[in-house]
Amino acid sequence: MAQEKALLIDIKRCIGCLSCETACKQLHGFGTDPEPTLSDTAFTVVEARGDKFVRKLCMHCEDPACASACPVEAISKTRLGPVVYNADKCIGCRYCMLACPYQVPRYQWTKLAPFVKKCDLCVDRIKAGKSTACAEACPVQATIFGNRDALINEAWSRIRSDASYVPHIYGVEELGGGSVLFVSDVPFEKLGFKPAPTGNQPMPTLTSSALGDSPKVVIMGGTILSALYWVTQRRREVALAEAEEKATINKIKGERS
């Protein structure tokens, strides 16, 4: 089995040159003007946070909220790492956008046949043995591409050899981890990384307990309702029989008098 690929983004090294953004736009044939936030024509952007630069892109979660939310399974996590979107299945319900904890998926609001747009970790290039366009374009190797395990080792060795790094790799465990990893010399919460809403648990665990209970509830509810129906039917039968009996007795009494 092919090893899972990933990106390691080093916020300390990033110089904010936007090469990754431009390379991504060129690959997808979009105009190369930089955009302030992610959009349907910007799958990654570089945001300035103080004097640091933080890349925004799909985190390619191991157990993605978007994939669990999609009613038609148009989004799925591949073994190779990328979370990919199948436009042929999508119905355009936009539940993935509500579900994503990083607010990544974007929609083509202006189109008459709109689709969801997001980074696919250059899945076609990866399959061809190449690295992602953004990693290839980075002049200072602030974004590097490789096997996920190797990148985690690389990140730890950077943290160990340089005391200015925060001793944490964002993306290894948050929300169950993902294929995009960050290291930084500034605490992550100061760079706009929000606390993970479910800690290190994948987001789909929020719904799986409610959904998992439903068969039990249905079976129990069905049994109770059937039992109640049987009881009320029986009571009605008894009442009917008694009423008929009464009517007959009254009739006989009437005949006698």
């Binding site: 992610l38 959009s39 909220a65 669990s68 939310a69 999609c70 009613p71 038609v72 399974e73 148009a74 299945k89 999508c90 119905i91 355009g92 319900c93 936009r94 539940y95 956008m97 509500l98 579900a99 904890p101 607010q103 998926p105 974007r106 929609y107 609001w109 202006t110 189109k111 008459l112 046949a113 709109p114 929000k194 606390p195 809403p197 479910t198 987001m203 789909p204 929020l206 719904t207 799986s208 307990s209 409610a210 959904l211 439903s214 509830v217 249905v218 509810g221 069905g222 309702l225 059937s226 109640l228 129906y229 009320t232 039917q233 009605r236 009442a239 009917l240 008694e242 009423a243 008929e244």
Partner: protein, 393 residues
């Protein structure tokens, strides 16, 4: 001639005409110019009024159908049989409006059938889709006799109704389970929005809260509809039934209030209600309309015993319920999503068009079919069943 035409123009007809013209124009914009032209939806607010008003309120307010059919068919509460058909009709039309609204909501409406063949068991939305489709079929089945008994072919009529009656209870049972499931799954949709939804509404038991609030709201809408039918159409319903419904609504609201308080305590969210924020304001508006006013009003016999006052108490329940669903779907999300969403006129116009079509269909069904007991003629025998013996006993 002119005078006759003039006499046909009434206030309500003018309003309906305006709703249809604006609604159809909004529909044209939606399907021929796209979302950007017809909505204020954005990447920060992917779901707006169509989901909040159309789907969440539409399904929730249609909850009476399963509630009353469970009471009558399964629990033997024969007393409510006169209002059974109207409750089923409201549910049926409510689900129809949701099915039509679904085509507005999704970006690729010609793929509406995809959830039937492309399954994702882990998706709450998939379960909602499947339940709504199945339950709409069940409601069609439950409502069908009202149409079939008006058909001119006697043999066909009798055969169909005979077999219909045989499997009815099983279908009702399935319907009760299905609708219980997706009423709660609608709340379950927001379980995954943890961290985005404001803590006054987010709860790991959101699905249960949605279920508990939908039943009184659906019942309240049914009472309102029946009151309006009695006022404007040739319909007479024993008012003590509606009085009892009022009592039931109050009880269900108290149960909901109890669990809502428990839920807020368990989530340690009570503090948010006393902050000076928009969310706190919307929360108190919801508490006032959905819980405080109706619970107090319905505790007076003078309100429950008076049709018009009962109507207004129910109107508060329905309005409060709509505030609750719009809070969850729109207001509770705005802060975390960093956006301010106000629906565009065309979103409102198209939603109102679909709802108005449902209301008009209800009116003509009540006029032409045996939905509610008519004032001038006796109700059909089959409503009482067993020639009235069971009811007498």
């Amino acid at each position: 001639m002119f005078a006759r035409i003039k006499s046909e123009i009434t206030l309500w007809r003018v309003i309906v005409a305006i709703i249809f013209v604006t609604g159809l124009y909004a529909t044209y914009i939606r399907f021929f110019q796209g979302f950007r032209a017809s909505t204020n939806l954005s990447d920060q607010m992917p779901w707006g009024l169509w989901v909040g008003l159309g789907t969440l309120c539409g399904i929730g307010l249609s909850a009476a159908g399963f509630g009353i059919s469970a009471a009558v068919y399964l629990l033997g509460m024969e007393r409510y049989r006169p209002i059974l058909r109207s409750a089923i009709l409201i549910s049926f039309l409510g689900y129809m409006t949701v099915c039509v609204g679904y085509l507005y909501e999704i970006g690729l409406p010609w793929r509406f059938w995809h959830p039937i063949v492309m399954w994702n068991h882990r998706s709450v939305l998939f379960d909602v889709c499947v339940c709504i489709m199945t339950y709409t079929t069940v409601l069609t089945f439950e409502f069908a006799p009202a149409v079939i008994e008006k058909l001119p072919w006697q043999r066909f009529r009798e055969t169909v109704l005979h077999y219909h009656h045989k499997i009815l209870v099983a279908v009702v049972l399935a319907g009760v389970l299905l609708s219980s499931m997706h009423q709660s799954f609608l709340g379950g949709l927001y379980l995954i929005a943890r961290g985005k939804l404001h803590p006054l509404w987010y709860s790991p038991y959101m699905h249960a809260m949605f279920y508990l609030s939908a039943i009184p709201a659906g019942l309240a809408l049914t009472v309102m509809a029946i009151y309006l039918c009695m006022r404007s159409l040739n319909v007479r319903v024993d008012f003590s039934i509606l009085n009892d419904c009022g009592r039931m609504i109050q009880l269900l609201l108290i149960v909901y209030a109890f669990f809502k308080v428990l839920d807020l305590i368990a989530n340690q969210a009570f503090g948010y209600a006393f902050q000076f924020t928009h969310e706190a304001g919307y929360f108190w508006l919801e508490v006032l309309l959905f819980l405080a006013i109706p619970i107090i009003m319905l505790s007076f016999e003078s309100v429950r015993g008076n049709p018009e006052r009962l109507y207004w108490a129910c109107a508060f329940v329905v309005a409060g319920f709509m505030v609750d669903r719009l809070n969850v779907s729109i207001n509770a999300l705005q802060t975390a999503m960093g956006t301010h969403y106000v629906p565009k006129w065309s979103e409102l116009a198209s939603s109102v068009l679909v709802i108005a079509a449902g209301v008009i269909a209800f009116r003509y069904a009540v006029i032409y079919l045996d939905i509610l007991p008519k004032a001038s003629s006796k109700p059909p025998q089959r409503w009482i069943g067993n020639a009235g013996l069971a009811a007498q006993a």
